[in-house]
């Protein structure tokens, strides 16, 4: 299910889209709301792509990715606060922390299937949230933590204008997409897709399913933890309930990939492009009426998509095209 190669028209379309993406920040006000939303779209698309690496390829639906994301955000921010370590280096540490946590959670959940696995990861994400809320001496507790404001500049990954953030997120998105694609077309990717289809058959053909899942999970956890660093630097402030949020992070990144099409490169992109702007729009129109209304609309959309086309909108589009 890779994007069509060599077809002249789609190549041109892709090129135009790419150009538009690169030029966009200069067409918008440097501190404006739209650019801010655009940055978040890119970030969440990247997060969703990171989730996609494990869930999309191996079929193991994780509802606990917030655990890695928040861990990454806290890791780099704490290193910055206590050791004045640049967030760029913080990225490396966050990656290690995310990878370690993913490996750690991968071991007890290795043999679990489907719903059980989703449950276990959900518990993990929630556990991280509870730990962050309780371990006040480390994380600052429920009050949250602020990224110390300093001179805007590249070294500390802090900018006054939104434009540099946009490009950083764009690069992050490109990196996660390329990583997804490289893994998918590699031996690991084939093994993961095989075990997703029929784990026993894959094992009997020589696939070490445990190692494959561990690798995918580790890559996924590391990447999303690094994206947590970008989030921290972008928002300047976060607390455990936000960074480790079940609905706001774990479910959202999964939802984006699912609506767009799990297991494909384009899925998270389509999903993010649809969901975030719509969410912003409904928030703007509906939250004046009642709190929670826009989220409810989301839930309803999710249900509708799942019931009508469990494989996601991309699949819907494919069937319409035939």
């Amino acid at each position: 299910m890779s994007p069509p190669h060599g077809h002249p028209i789609s190549r041109v379309v892709l090129a135009i889209l790419a150009l538009a993406l690169v030029v966009l920040p200069w067409l918008l006000p440097a501190q404006g709301y739209v650019l801010r939303v655009a940055c978040l779209v890119l970030l969440f698309a990247a997060m969703s792509q990171a989730w996609n690496i494990a869930a999309g390829l191996s079929g193991q639906i994780s509802l606990g990715h917030a655990g890695f994301f928040g861990a990454g955000a806290y890791t780099s921010t704490l290193l910055l606060i206590h050791f004045n370590l640049s967030p760029w280096l913080g990225l490396v540490f966050a990656g290690f922390v995310g990878a370690a946590l993913a490996a750690l959670i991968s071991l007890p959940t290795m043999k679990l299937k489907g719903h059980y696995f989703a449950l276990a990861t959900l518990a993990f994400g929630e556990a991280m949230r509870v730990i962050a809320n309780s371990w006040g001496s480390l994380t600052g507790g429920p009050v949250g933590i602020s990224v110390p404001f300093a001179e805007p500049g590249f070294v500390l990954m802090q900018f006054q204008s939104l434009r540099p953030y946009y490009y950083i997120m764009l690069v992050a998105l490109a990196v996660t997409c390329i990583t997804f694609h490289r893994i998918r077309t590699s031996a690991l990717g084939l093994r993961l897709r095989a075990l997703k289809n029929h784990a026993d058959a894959a094992a009997s053909l020589g696939v070490d399913t445990a190692v494959a899942k561990l690798l995918a999970s580790t890559a996924s956890g590391a990447l999303i933890a690094m994206l947590g660093v970008l989030y921290a630097q972008f928002q300047f402030f976060f607390d455990p309930d936000t960074a480790f949020s079940l609905a706001g992070v774990s479910i959202r990144v999964a939802l984006i990939a699912i609506i767009g099409g799990v297991g494909t490169v384009a899925g998270p992109l389509v999903g993010a492009l649809l969901i975030l702007p719509i969410e912003e729009a409904t928030n703007a129109y509906l939250s004046s009426h009642a709190a929670g209304l826009s989220q409810m609309v989301f839930g309803a959309i999710l249900i509708a998509v799942v019931v009508l086309q469990p494989r996601g909108l991309l699949h819907l589009w494919k069937t319409v095209r035939r």
Partner: protein, 250 residues
């Protein structure tokens, strides 16, 4: 240091496995000579698939030993056993529906080769079963007989020493069955050992040099097709009058 290669590629000794109150495998012992084609027959529930599952590592035997090329494989994970050279096909179709035919076969080839070479070996395996023209089709779209052939190609791609074929003939036309029989014989001639579960009597009798008969988990007879078909225990336990008539024609 592994022991020197003996005449038997697979040695099963006193294999037993119980599930609750049922003795699914009861003190089964047999040897497979290299390059031989051996059939396993028995009524439904005789324990044939359970036996295969123990050989491939999906079920751990309660007692007994399994030596593949002189080395024990009891307790090893299925993927390790595959890399050691033992592979089985699945009775209920287990093709990777979301992947193309070539990708399916490539998974098998990855057991011994990096991805580039694996793809070539996979294509070769597909040619052998006649699925090469369909290599880019999604496996889910194949017909049942084509899926059976894909099972075979995937298993072949793992370059096995011993292949366990679990009822591959079931969905094939007589013409296709003849082709598979010919292919199996070629494989055996080239050195692969085959253990075949089959219900189709004619195939078993013509294809296999030796037959093992299981009933209630126990090995009740073992010998050449003619020996087995005239063995009173086998006739009594398994072969009804109709199947006996089939044999008379074979």
């Amino acid at each position: 240091m592994s022991p020197p290669p003996g005449p038997s590629i697979l040695s099963v000794s006193r294999l037993s496995r119980r599930f609750g109150g049922l003795q699914a495998t009861d003190d089964v012992s047999f040897e497979l000579a290299r390059g031989s084609i051996v059939g396993v027959i028995g009524p439904n529930g005789a324990g044939k698939t359970t036996l295969f599952n123990q050989l491939t590592g999906f079920i751990r035997p309660d007692a007994g030993s399994i030596l593949l090329d002189g080395r024990s494989v009891v307790g090893l994970a299925p993927h390790v056993i595959c890399r050691r050279g033992l592979v089985k096909t699945f009775q209920n179709v287990a093709t990777f529906g979301d992947m193309t035919v070539l990708e399916n076969a490539t998974v098998g080839a990855l057991a011994h080769h990096p991805i580039g070479v694996a793809r070539e070996r996979a294509a070769m395996a597909l040619r052998r079963v006649g699925l090469h023209p369909r290599m880019d089709s999604p496996a889910g779209e194949l017909s049942l007989p084509e899926k059976a052939r894909l099972e075979l190609a995937r298993a072949l791609a793992t370059e096995p020493k011993v292949m366990l074929l679990d009822e591959v003939m079931a969905t094939l036309t007589p013409g296709e069955q003849r082709e598979i029989v010919a292919m199996v014989k070629e494989l055996a001639a080239a050195g692969t050992t085959l253990l075949v579960i089959e219900h189709h009597m004619k195939t078993v009798m013509t294809l296999c040099e030796r037959i093992l008969v299981l009933n209630f988990g126990r090995l009740i007879a073992s010998g050449t097709p003619s020996q087995v078909s005239s063995d009173p225990a086998v006739v009594a336990a398994y072969l009804g009058t109709r199947a006996a008539a089939e044999l008379a024609d074979a």
